[in-house]
């Protein structure tokens, strides 16, 4: 799925990286707990989260992710957006809640890439 399709499906607003929406991704994950992202995520280049602080960007960076979507209409600070830009991570915000946002993407074919349960 292209990031541009994700944007469409979630009715999201791109806060940084409009020019990178041609990136293609095959899986995603959703969590408000960065410890869990670091523990369980494997090759999931998109993170959906309702948590807004710089550690979200840094965690995504450590996990080599290419896009973060803030749910529930959350908007990160300019400092966070600059950090994401520096790390080459596309930032979007969408009005949907976590469950619905993840569900919509899954329904449209974006899976979780998990061997076990998630």
């Amino acid at each position: 799925m292209l990031l541009s399709e994700i944007k469409e499906i979630l009715n999201a607003t791109v806060l940084w990286g409009e020019e990178h929406l041609d990136r293609e991704v095959v899986s995603a994950c959703g969590s408000d707990f960065m410890s869990d992202v670091l523990a369980y995520v494997k090759n999931q280049p998109v993170l959906l989260t309702g948590l807004v602080n710089p550690q979200v960007i840094r965690t995504a960076d450590m996990m080599e992710m290419c896009c973060i979507i803030f749910v529930r209409g959350k908007v990160p600070s300019q400092d966070m957006i600059n950090l994401a830009k520096d790390r080459d991570i596309v930032i979007m915000t969408c009005p949907k809640r976590m469950y619905e946002a993840c569900g919509l993407l899954y329904y449209n074919g974006l899976r979780g890439n998990c061997d076990g349960n998630d």
Partner: protein, 141 residues
């Protein structure tokens, strides 16, 4: 290849800056052209260690040594030490306060994560003196 030594101070205080050292190390490892998986594992270990030094020990120092066959990361602090290492290593055990939790940490997964992502891990700790966590990541030849 000659051993490359890198040293990064880790500031105590709030968690806002935590991760800067890991980020810098990651960039250096990329420039060295190491395998992606090795870089990822080293970065996660260092990041968890950095977060621990900030939330549990008010900062410290990370020393990284890169050889042709391994990356050695030492995270050294002069914090309170860990009274029961076996307990600290258990998934879910955490003494982190609510501030750390609000930032998405304190799940008690840090040390177990470091063990999982490294090839070897040792914890040297003295209560009241400090802690040194060392992880080794092998570079496949």
């Amino acid at each position: 290849m000659e051993t490359i030594k890198l040293v990064y101070p880790v500031e105590g205080g709030d968690l806002i800056e935590a991760g800067e050292a890991s980020s810098k190390m990651k960039l250096t490892l990329k420039k060295l052209g190491l395998p992606q998986d090795v870089i990822r594992r080293a970065s996660i270990c260092m990041y968890e260690g950095e977060i621990n030094m900030v939330i549990h020990a008010d900062g410290g120092e990370a020393q990284v040594e890169v050889d042709s066959d391994q990356i050695l990361i030492r995270m050294i602090d002069s914090g309170p030490g860990i009274p029961n290492v076996q307990q600290a290593m258990q998934e879910g055990f955490s003494t982190a306060d609510s501030t750390a939790r609000e930032l998405g940490f304190g799940a008690g997964m840090g040390l177990p994560n470091m063990k999982r992502y490294s090839d070897e891990m040792t914890i040297d700790t003295v209560v009241g003196t400090g802690t040194t966590v060392t992880v080794k990541i092998k570079i496949p030849q």
